[in-house]
């Protein structure tokens, strides 16, 4: 599922791995320190190393689970290229990531639908940036609009949409670029429980259909267990990896799953990891 962690952060190791097994994503000794407004140095992420194997033709969901404000999002932003690590490096398919790229699309907790574009235009945005003709872009976008269940709302403006629908737009808009990585920063955090549940189901569906690896940040243990193939449990700030947990492949992801013993056991294990770290 996921390659064994590379242990230390020797500079040569990621390179060697890239040559041999070629992991999809590698973080090697990534630390992020930034200067706050008051001038203090804040260490957000400390020495995070992991790699994710390349598994062509199979979607995978990797969840980063940690307490609120622990620096999970910072890790995601380093992968997106929105932030440059203070130390260490991030490699995607062996290439060091420098800056943003449309092979790594990001979905935020805040609603980011462009209010001046219709649902269809929002989804077509990435294609239009590349100069794809309007008609062609809209045809392609319609498929993704349908895939996230918004076919009836394609001509609406975001102000007419609910929060869940806005997040569907954001997901479709990112998928149309066919990114290698789909980065999701607590995307369902602002949704009501029912919508949240629906969206989790949608995401699982998408990961089965599409070939993207999804990196998903959350502080919700149950969400992590439901979605993840692999969970990285993170400590409070500065974020470090406490443990990587490869989850059993739940055969059925439906309403009953969350109350099953199997699910509860994994949930308890993750909770123990989170709270054990907090107590120490």
């Amino acid at each position: 599922m996921v390659e064994p962690e590379s242990g230390g952060a020797e500079g040569s190791e990621p390179a060697r791995e890239a040559a041999a097994e070629a992991p999809k994503l590698t973080l090697a000794g990534v630390s992020v320190t930034y200067r706050s407004r008051s001038g203090d140095d804040v260490e957000a992420v400390r020495d995070v190393s992991f790699s994710i194997a390349n598994k062509p033709g199979c979607g995978e969901i990797i969840v980063f689970l940690g307490p609120s404000g622990c620096g999970k999002s910072t890790i995601l932003k380093c992968v997106a290229g929105l932030l440059t690590p203070t130390q260490g490096e991030v490699r995607l398919d062996g290439e060091v990531i420098e800056g943003v790229g449309r092979d790594r699309g990001m979905v935020f907790q805040a609603y980011t639908s462009f209010a001046w574009l219709t649902v269809l235009e929002n989804v077509a945005y990435g294609l239009r940036l590349r100069g794809v003709a309007k008609r062609e872009a809209h045809e392609a976008a319609m498929k993704y609009v349908e895939a996230v269940g918004l076919a009836d709302s394609a001509k609406m403006y975001p102000k007419q949409l609910s929060g869940g629908m806005k997040q569907r737009v954001a997901i479709a808009r990112t998928l149309i670029n066919k990114p290698k990585l789909l980065l999701m920063d607590e995307p369902f955090g602002a949704l009501d429980p029912h919508t949240r549940w629906e969206m989790q189901g949608l995401l699982v569906d998408i990961s089965r259909r599409e070939d993207n690896t999804i990196l998903f940040v959350t502080h919700d243990v149950s969400e992590a267990v439901y979605l993840a193939d692999t969970v990285f449990v993170l400590s409070a700030r500065p974020a470090t990896i406490v443990e990587r947990v490869d989850l059993p492949a739940f055969t059925r992801r439906d309403l009953g799953l969350k109350s099953s013993d199997e699910f509860r056991a994994v949930e308890k294990h993750l909770l123990d990891l989170l709270y054990a770290k907090k107590a120490s």
Binding site: V100, V107, W116, Y125
Partner: protein, 299 residues
Amino acid sequence: MPPNEGNVPASGPKVGPPGVAVVAKSRLAARRAPESTWAIRRPVSARLRLPLAFALPVLLLVCWCVLTLGQPPLVGELFLPSPVRVVQVTLRMILDGTLFDAVAASAVRIALAFAAAALVALPLGVLMGAFEPVERFLDPILAPLRYMPISAFIPLLILWFGIDEGEKIAFLFLGVFVYLLPVVITAVRAVPEELLQTALTLGATRAQVIRTVIIPAALPDIFDSFRVMNAISWTYVILAEFVNARRGLGYLIALAGNHLKTAEVFSGILVIGLIGLATDALIRLVNSLLFPWRETANG
């Protein structure tokens, strides 16, 4: 008798201690219920709206009539002309074309100065809002400008641009520009960071982020500020036209004042008020047509 929980008003007096308690409770409920016109932030009921809107104008008009329509009037014509006189003068100026001519002259000056100010302030504000080095570079000059009385520049502008149209438009330009620029910068800054980051991760270049996200997102706020700019423009145009103008509303008022034609001064001021209301409504209409997609607080 079942206990009254306050949602049904107690009917008639009740006997005995429990009854007293019930009555007292329902009175309390009635006082707390959102009936009072003076509850904080309570919208005025539809029935009260028209009377409230007309009360003060009517009161002022009555006072005005009492002061000016007596024989002889309580206040002399020179200081306070009668409403009848003001209406007569206004009608005369409409009919002989002077009023239209004056309004047109002022409006053209405002339009030209406004277009020039927008042409400079929009790109400059977008650059300053998007790129902090540009802002830090220009702010030492632009920040103090905001606190200077623009009218203090009139003598300088006369020296530089002469006493004709150029000076008046330059003055108006300056007046609008110093207010518009910070509005543009603030509007650009108010675009949520996540929107920019989303565009970047979708493959937008920096230029594309500015063109496809920052500008469309900031434009409604900027266009809203045009209402304030409109008010500022009409204030400054009068001031500008006090100096050696041969046309315009300010000129008309200044000339009337110099010749002690108080009724014409009144007429000019009223016309400016009406123009202000009309242009404000027009700007609001245009904005709602331009930005139908806009998310508003109430839907």
